[in-house]
Symmetry: C2
Subunit: 450 residues, 2 copies
């Protein structure tokens, strides 16, 4: 299979069918399409057309479609549905997806929507989930899971499990709890099936089970699940009670979002925006970093102004400022990116000072190679050895300093509990531009004895 590709023809056909209210044809056309792909189609339609499709299809499909839609389109569609219709959609969803949708609803209708949910247990679970911070394991987990009491016997267990499993799409594990709902361990399906029905669970369960706290950060949960190759992990509250479980498909989304965020941060885009967002959103995400760059550039101009008297004697020095600034920026971004990534993947070992020494050696090695190239070129080009030497020597120092700054700042921010990803991209480039130019003119002045 190849992923579904939305064609202009299909879109036109669907718009036509909606306009002519060909409900039967439209339903049978969309029935064949996966809900994630229907969401892709609806993202391209206008509000009325989108609502039309949602009202037309069965709620077991539309509920899944809703979870996959762009947020603004979902909001528009839900605004056109009655509270009863919204409740019907929530009824079909797993509690985690339902809670995410409820969290987006206008405050004044939340209570009414929830009271319209017929399955009271489901409604209660959704309300429970609303309590948790979106940016925590609690905000990620679902209530759907299979759990058994340690003092049940196998027969009771199987009976209860069958009832519970109806609500759970994929049973990854059977969790064992005590009478206070405290997570005690897990049960393998195989053991359950090969044990006499009178045996108590207590005697057969595996007392070792990985779990995360309800307040754990999603990134940490992602790290744990991918490191230990888990497809689901139970979530416990402060006193060890089993309150939910997180499945790997939610973690895949976390990893993707995390990577996108870091990438954008490194590129100087400060909010979670997409290429298709409005110009205004994109400006707000990008302008702050550009203003930072502007301030840095003004700082660089001021520094160069301080060395104005050198222009008369060695104008050529000024021609190399973009080169020096660019190298300082590039080296800084390289060093910081590798540290930020090491921190994110948790594979950074050893002390900060060792790390700085290594980066210094690395930068010095790169710097010397580049400086030799630069020296030969400039000497040949300008036939003034001392000027060429001054520029080349500065380049080495600038690169070493840029490497140290690029290494130190993310490590420092991380120690302070600040996301080090902020220190890549424009931040490092700008500060290194300024330091680089300052060092450059200062060394040139020393070497040339001006």
């Amino acid at each position: 299979m190849t992923p579904f590709k939305l064609s202009d023809e299909l879109l036109a056909e669907i718009e036509q069918l909606i306009e002519n209210q060909k409900d039967t044809q439209l339903s049978s056309l969309l029935e064949e399409v996966h809900y994630a792909d229907v969401a892709e189609i609806i993202n391209e339609l206008n509000e009325d057309e989108a609502t039309y499709i949602i009202k037309l299809l069965e709620s077991d499909k539309t509920s899944d479609i809703l979870t996959e839609l762009d947020e603004d389109i979902r909001e528009a569609i839900l605004g056109n549905l009655s509270t009863k219709e919204i409740a019907g959609e929530l009824e079909e969803l797993d509690t985690d997806d339902a809670a995410d949708i409820v969290a987006e609803l206008p405050k004044e209708i939340v209570q009414e929507v929830i009271s319209e949910i017929e399955d009271k247990e489901h409604a209660k679970d959704i309300v429970d989930l609303l309590r948790y911070d979106e940016n925590s394991a609690g905000g990620l987990m679902a209530k759907e899971l299979v759990k058994v009491r340690e003092n049940w016997n196998v027969l009771t267990c199987v009976k209860e499990m069958r009832a519970q499993a109806e609500n759970v799409t994929r049973v990854h594990s059977i969790y064992v709890v005590d009478e206070d709902d405290k997570l005690m361990g897990r049960l393998s399906l195989k053991d359950l099936l090969t044990t006499s029905t009178k045996t108590h669970i207590k005697e057969v369960y595996i007392p070792k089970v990985d779990a995360v706290n309800v307040n754990e950060k999603p990134e940490e949960v992602a790290k744990i699940m991918s490191k230990y190759d888990l497809e689901a992990i139970p979530v416990v509250d402060e006193i060890g009670r089993l309150v939910g479980r997180i499945t790997i498909d939610d973690i895949v989304d976390v990893i993707r979002e995390e990577a996108d965020k870091d990438y954008q941060m490194a590129a100087g885009i400060s909010q979670d925006v997409e290429a298709d967002d409005s110009i205004w959103d994109l400006t707000r995400a990008r302008l702050p970093w550009l203003i930072l760059g502007l301030i840095g550039g003004l700082g660089a101009a001021a520094i160069m102004g301080g060395f104005e008297e050198m222009i008369a004697q060695h104008a050529i020095l000024f021609f190399f400022t973009p080169l020096i600034a660019a190298m300082a920026g590039n080296v800084g971004v390289q060093s910081s990116a590798i540290i930020v990534q090491g921190l994110a993947n948790d594979d950074l070992k050893g002390s900060i000072s060792n790390r700085l020494i290594k980066e210094m050696l690395l930068a010095a090695l790169n710097g010397i190679i580049l400086a030799v190239i630069l020296l030969m070129f400039t000497w040949w080009y300008k036939d003034d050895f001392y000027v060429a030497l001054a520029i080349a020597l500065s380049l080495i120092v600038v690169i070493v300093v840029a490497g140290i700054i690029g290494t130190f700042i993310p490590l420092f921010l991380h120690k302070r509990g600040i996301d080090p990803a902020i220190a890549t991209g424009p931040f490092i480039t700008t500060s290194n531009d300024i330091f680089g130019i300052l060092i450059y003119f200062w060394i040139a002045k020393l070497v040339l004895g001006i």
Copy 2:
């Protein structure tokens, strides 16, 4: 649970135990530790210590440890094991992990290692997998899966499944094939259990099943699985025969690696390196981009040399070149990053020309805001309105051009089938530096009439 943190104390204790050959204590200490964490420990030990631990522990654990180790350490350890010992490790692994390890072995021992594997079926599967390109669905898949023939009845099916399931850690789906092994559909466990044992599979299976071709790129498989929330997907060959399956944990690794690669590319690091790699590896990954930057800087110097006569009259113009270059670079990286990300996530719609127009408007908006700030500052600072105007006007044009270049290049590369991620970072920065400076002096010359 929190992820395991390797402490210096624990490491020292383990090294001590190895030195004193306290095998019982060492085994019982490591028995409690997850294999992924033991791998973390071994990554910090020297070759002899690492080999000691691998030889000490049981091969059902060491085989998993081996898959998690850094490549160079694994290579060193395997070099110290006999072909029989290596075969013993492979025996314990799933075919996909085993094939990955075999692919790393020195060519001259591969045949011997494989012939030492006792389970001939397992050996055959590993050899089959070696045929596939690492960078394809075939290189990612495992042979372990549960498949049944459509002409079997339910009873045969259950019997055969039980035998197959022994080799499969997690049964995600039961796949149905015809007598030529062609994938026909899948079977739900529930249907299987509620149907009379004499019924033929043909009558109960679900004929719709998502599958990927064995030559599909891993990134595409990742997209499909995460879009459709699949935990496993069957892999078929060119004529539709079921040849393997890919599980979500492998996809999590693909997504992480992909994100890391794009991030590094944007930061000007050209190979897959980690902060803990050798200085030599790190230099090789970073130097090419720095040389590119150096060449760009020399280009900028040459351009500025061409405007040398302006220095006498308006030295101040030269002070703003780092600012212009930095802004051109920043805007270029912002534009290209958002396009690269849009392409990677497949959420870029509309035509290239619409995209360029939008980016132009966005850049113009940002440019005008920044130019006004710059104009006021420079005017106040130098009290020369025309110079200030020249600088500010150039800034707008430079930003718009940088935005267009940043948008166009990744789209162009993508159309040509080249990974657009290469066009972010140093590449865009360097080309925009040069264009920016050229445009800047050219406009300044026009405005000031020099």
